[in-house]
Amino acid sequence: MSPRVVFPNKILPYLLLAPQLAITLVFFYWPASQALYQSMLREDPFGLKSQFVWFDNFARVLADPNYLNSVRVTAVFSIATAAVAMVTALLLAVMADKVIRGRGLYRTLMIWPYAVAPAIAGMLWLFLFNPSIGTLAYGLRWLGIAWNPLLDGGDAMVLVVAAASWKQISYNFLFFVAGLQAIPKTLIEAAAIDGAGPTKRFWTIVFPLLAPTTFFLLVVNTVYAFFDTFGIIHAVTGGGPGKATETLVYKVYNDGFVNLILGDSAAQSVILMVIVIALTAIQFRYVEKKVHYG
């Protein structure tokens, strides 16, 4: 529709694109190709020589029960984190939309957790829920709940999911608040006149119109849960107890930098890369079709 702008200069567009391309090449494609190459090498125990082994590393990784456990842990962790973070944020945003007095203060306070570094967020939660020193853990025990994330894998998972989603709620909240504000008030009024009560209005008008925001946050939260939660897991559980919270990213780190199995680690990161590319592609291809951009 809009007329195409044609630059008379043939070289200028490439020059303008060059810095961006250079950064992408140096900081993304180069390391990625290194990982790909690395994933097909096997190093001897002393790191003196390496051998090209084609897809042996992949075969071994995929056959490893520990790795499959890690896939399961990641799935549970990511789905739970994204779900908790988004549902809570939406709830808070809907509430915040109704607040009239002290609206600005309320919103500002809601945003603070986002400024907390992941590792520190993890430590905060650990201080609260550590079975021996945690204030809230004491309360839980007093209530008769056997709470011990240091021994119980399920408890540990709950703790890291709580910490990870707590941090992400602020971010989601901001976007949901903006999304809610973008919905014209007359639409809500029209729906009210059309005989829809508040709950019905939310599910038939507000929620569908928030779909673009929700979809965007789904992508962001998935990527967050996959990659950006390393610090939290590292600080809170270190992947334990007994690999109960060892996500794929954490295992890449553990195998590569702690156990120094570089080939396996590289193979895992390549698989991880493929998974995230596939997830994003699926989300864009199928979910976006059901999203309405007003």
Binding site: L187, A190, A192, D194, G195, A196, H292, G294
Partner: protein, 381 residues
Amino acid sequence: MATVDLKDVKKIYAGGVEAVKGVSIAIPDKALCVLVGPSGCGKSTLLRMIAGLESISAGTVSIDGKVVNAIGPTERDIAMVFQNYALYPHMKVYDNMAYGLRNRGTPKDEIDKRVRETAKTLELSALLDRRPRELSGGQRQRVAMGRAIVRNPKVFLFDEPLSNLDAKLRGQMRVEIKNLQRALGVTSVYVTHDQLEAMTLADQLVVMNAGLVEQIGDPLDIYEKPASTFVASFIGAPPMNLLALTRGGAGRMPAGSPEEMAAVGHGSAAGSTALASAAPMLTDGSVVPFAPQAAATLGFRPEDADVTHGAEAPGGALAIPAAVEAVEPVGAESFLYCAAAGTRIIVRVHGRATARPGDQLRVVVRAEKLHWFDQAGKRVG
């Protein structure tokens, strides 16, 4: 099918601002009532109070004899057409129209029947599978109308529904709304700031200003007998010419010069010594005959005035010396913008105007076409 009764309705906002200051209107069954006034006069607030979208600070709103103050918009059984149409962007036209029926638990086949019937009357049948963003402004307007009609409510509310359309489409939709409202016989309240829309649509016209009703009545009655200077200047395009009158002081006695003779307008009156200094005068000092005792403002419609270059003024008419400043030919008529008695007056003449800018002439108005208003701006006589 319902009457709508407003009794001393007030709207006071939290900050103490009084948007509606006590309005009483009785809208008869099946009537199309138009609320007209400048922006900020409280007409939209009043409509939203009838809809239940704004709380009522004082007074009562009744629909069909039942006070609805405490009833939410969901249960009032009204339908509203919004200025921006407020179509649900994620729903197809069909679903937009069916939404209200579904919410009220109408059976599916009944919904389908009614939506398709309504779509047919509004010529929307081909568009039922489209989304609002794929429609033109006029089509969206129709869908908004359809959404209101399909529910068959007690009352239709229109909040400036045509203001987003271009002039040609607006004229077309105006006629359609009028015909549709007639055919359906549903009591309607229509808010607009456009006096032409107000005049052409209304069965009952309510002119509002600053939160109060200035005049209620038949549009032509209001046009012919505006109750105040506000109504006089708001209804009619171009607006009524209003000239301030002064009393006392030394009025120039008409003494034979053609202009002054004309200012009195009446050859015989010119010589009369009965014109005391207390007689009403225009700001240029010329005495105005025919004026009732209390008159402080004189008004006449541009189409009731005529111009003459001659010295003789016809009997029974007021003649005001004026200088033509601009001429606007529109085709069937021309508007003369004249400077007279310290203000600008507009005269409508048929066909081509013979006057040119700079011409000195006299504006002549027959006595029975003059309107008089008192100090407070209220109609006299």
